[in-house]
């Protein structure tokens, strides 16, 4: 009996005519089946509900401490749809300020980035200090006694916390603290940060900002879905092979590349792949693409790692690739290079993606150049792989126009197994279970 997958139109938002809420994510542990209703990718009502149930409640990535290194440094960002100034005030304190004038709402800071003594609103000329406090109001004498200048600074985001220099915002004043929220994801951030001898990583200059005409949740899936590697990325695999990189999987295994990779549940909807590295890493595994002259340098990086962390931990850092998805919309890929990528839903079928490269602050110019070269081989809108991911996601989104006729995505892969590999879908199910839980709590 497979009525589990039978088309059932439940009406917008999963509500049937009788007002009963139909689950959008269906899991049966007895039948070993798992399905996601395609309505979640197309419905405007579900999109709006996500904003309230997820983006207004979770911790959302804002930026990295290295981006506001000096007093007065600022970046303007959109976070969960809100205009935010990420800045360091003149005394060195980091803030997330809502970038909307307390007078009548105009965007106060209109530049992408810079170093400021303060922020000046172009509309009526109110000025603010870099800590958000209101400094000047033209013709202040015309305001009545009720006007409290001290209370009219730029609003701060309700919550701002950081873990190892990664700053997150929550618009829910009652959210659990960030470290509790990150749960098992912290250990995987640590693996990235451990690449730096001083534990200090930095965002490298140059931002990749591009749209994908697809629902944001498809990029969460795609970022950790290693099942698609061979079909979607054969041209990248060819490039590696043509470059003399040994791409053959370890023997004695029938799995897809890379073998023995795992998909892991990190709690609170966070998940990661955790794969043996076969494709080279700037820290610290040489491949032929880097050139012979890079060999000694990479060995030296590896030796530093081993001396500082011990052989076992060094191997953990240098010999595994990890695609970490922090619920709901941050992905840190630590593979050919390190990317920090977050994405903002704009409409059910549109997201804005922002991606950066991350590297140890100690890197020499040659090491940095190698890291960036490795990054572009795979990642980004001009890379050999990401454009095909984008094509896959946009293709899927186009397919969902038939969501009423073909309502269910199948995500049961690997359900009968005890060990969940990176090419199974257990770690994708982790995301969907959390998504479903939060959405139902807000139904």
């Amino acid at each position: 009996m497979n009525d589990h997958f039978a088309p059932q139109y439940a009406g917008p938002g999963g509500r049937s005519g009788g007002g009963r809420v139909q689950p959008l994510v269906r899991e049966s542990r007895e039948n070993l089946s798992f399905a996601v209703n395609r309505e979640v990718f197309v419905s405007r009502e579900i999109f709006e509900r996500e904003q309230r149930a997820i983006f207004d409640r979770c911790w959302i990535y804002l930026g990295h401490a290295s981006e506001v290194r000096n007093p007065g440094d600022y970046k303007t960002r959109s976070v969960a749809g809100r205009p935010v100034i990420f800045c360091r005030d003149r005394s060195g304190q980091v803030h997330g300020l809502i970038n909307s004038c307390r007078h009548r709402g105009a965007i106060v800071c209109r530049e992408r980035e810079g170093n400021a003594r303060g922020f000046y609103c172009m509309y009526h000329g109110w000025t603010y200090n870099t800590d958000g406090t209101l400094r000047g109001v033209p013709d202040e004498a015309s305001y009545p006694p009720s006007f409290d200048k001290a209370a009219m600074g730029l609003a701060h985001v309700p919550r701002l916390e950081s873990y190892k220099d990664f700053y997150f915002v929550s618009f829910d004043r009652n959210a659990v603290d960030l470290e509790t929220y990150l749960a098992g994801a912290k250990a995987y951030i640590d693996l990235v940060v451990d690449q730096s001898p001083s534990g200090r990583m930095e965002i490298i200059s140059g931002i990749q900002e591009y749209d994908i005409k697809a629902n944001w949740k498809l990029l969460v899936e795609n970022s950790v879905d290693d099942y698609h590697l061979v079909a979607t990325h054969s041209t990248w695999l060819n490039y590696m092979r043509n470059s003399g990189v040994n791409m053959s999987p370890p023997k004695g295994s029938g799995l897809l590349l890379p073998t023995k990779g795992l998909g892991k549940d990190l709690g609170n909807g966070h998940l990661t792949t955790d794969n043996p590295n076969y494709r080279g890493r700037p820290v610290a595994r040489w491949i032929s693409v880097y050139g012979e002259d890079a060999k000694a340098d990479i060995e030296a990086i590896r030796a530093e790692l081993a001396a500082r962390l011990g052989e076992a931990r060094a191997a953990r850092v240098a010999d595994t690739n990890r695609n970490l998805a922090i619920f709901p919309n941050l992905v840190i890929n630590d593979g050919s290079s390190v990317t920090v990528r977050h994405f903002t839903p704009v409409a059910p079928d549109l997201m804005h993606v922002t991606a950066w490269a991350l590297g140890p602050v100690e890197e020499t110019e040659a090491q940095r150049a190698r890291r960036l070269h490795a990054f572009l081989t795979f990642y980004g809108p001009g890379g050999f792989a990401t454009p095909d991911d984008v094509a896959a996601l946009e293709n899927a989104q186009q397919g969902y126009a038939s969501w009423r006729e073909v309502p269910w995505n199948d995500l049961s892969r690997g359900m009968a197994k005890n060990e969940h590999t990176n090419t199974d879908e257990e770690h994708l199910r982790v995301f969907w279970r959390r998504w479903s839980e939060l959405m139902e709590a807000h139904a």
């Binding site: 140059g206 900002e209 950066w356 940095r368 572009l376 050999f384 094509a391």
Partner: protein, 166 residues
């Protein structure tokens, strides 16, 4: 400033060369296009937020040396290059061509471009910006030693991927 700085090259010759290159790219004659490049050629698309940056210290959209550029062409000709299969229809308009400097055998060239990219069932995607190329005469024939396509938009945004040769 329009007079050629090197008597051996004229703007008309540069224009003919760039128009020919555009024609090869619009017609997906990518092997013929590769033949226009020197053996040490490079191809850059800087990030939209740092158009003047150096690819060794800044994350670019594309920063190919000749090795990766040849691999890029292999990829673009492969039906498994999903982002460009079937290949986009593109149309390049190249204007405001100038010779901006001659240094030994290297000719600095600037030009504006508008590239329209069409895919079935999709609205047009427009790529507007300017080129900064370094051309070199090799055995009497003009070749591209460095090719830099700088986009005007503040972000890639609706352009999405730069999955074809810009």
């Amino acid at each position: 400033m329009n007079k050629p700085l090197d008597a051996t090259v004229s703007r008309a010759e540069i224009e003919d060369f760039l128009f020919h290159e555009a024609d090869l790219l619009d017609n997906w004659k990518l092997d013929d296009w590769l033949a226009l490049l020197t053996d040490d050629a490079a191809y850059y698309v800087p990030p939209n937020d740092k158009p003047d940056a150096d690819h060794r210290t800044t994350l670019f959209t594309i920063a190919d040396d000749i090795v990766r550029l040849r691999e890029r062409v292999i990829r673009l000709k492969d039906p498994n290059c999903h982002a460009e299969y079937p290949p986009s229809r593109t149309r390049r308009l190249i204007a405001n061509v100038r010779i901006v400097g001659v240094d030994g055998d290297t000719i600095g060239v600037a030009a504006n471009f508008a590239v329209y990219r069409y895919r079935r069932g999709e609205p047009v995607r427009e790529f507007v910006g300017h080129y900064r190329h370094k051309l070199r005469r090799v055995g009497g024939v003009l070749k591209i030693a460095e090719r830099r396509a700088i986009l005007d938009a503040h972000e890639l945004g609706p352009m999405g991927s730069v999955s074809f040769i810009l």
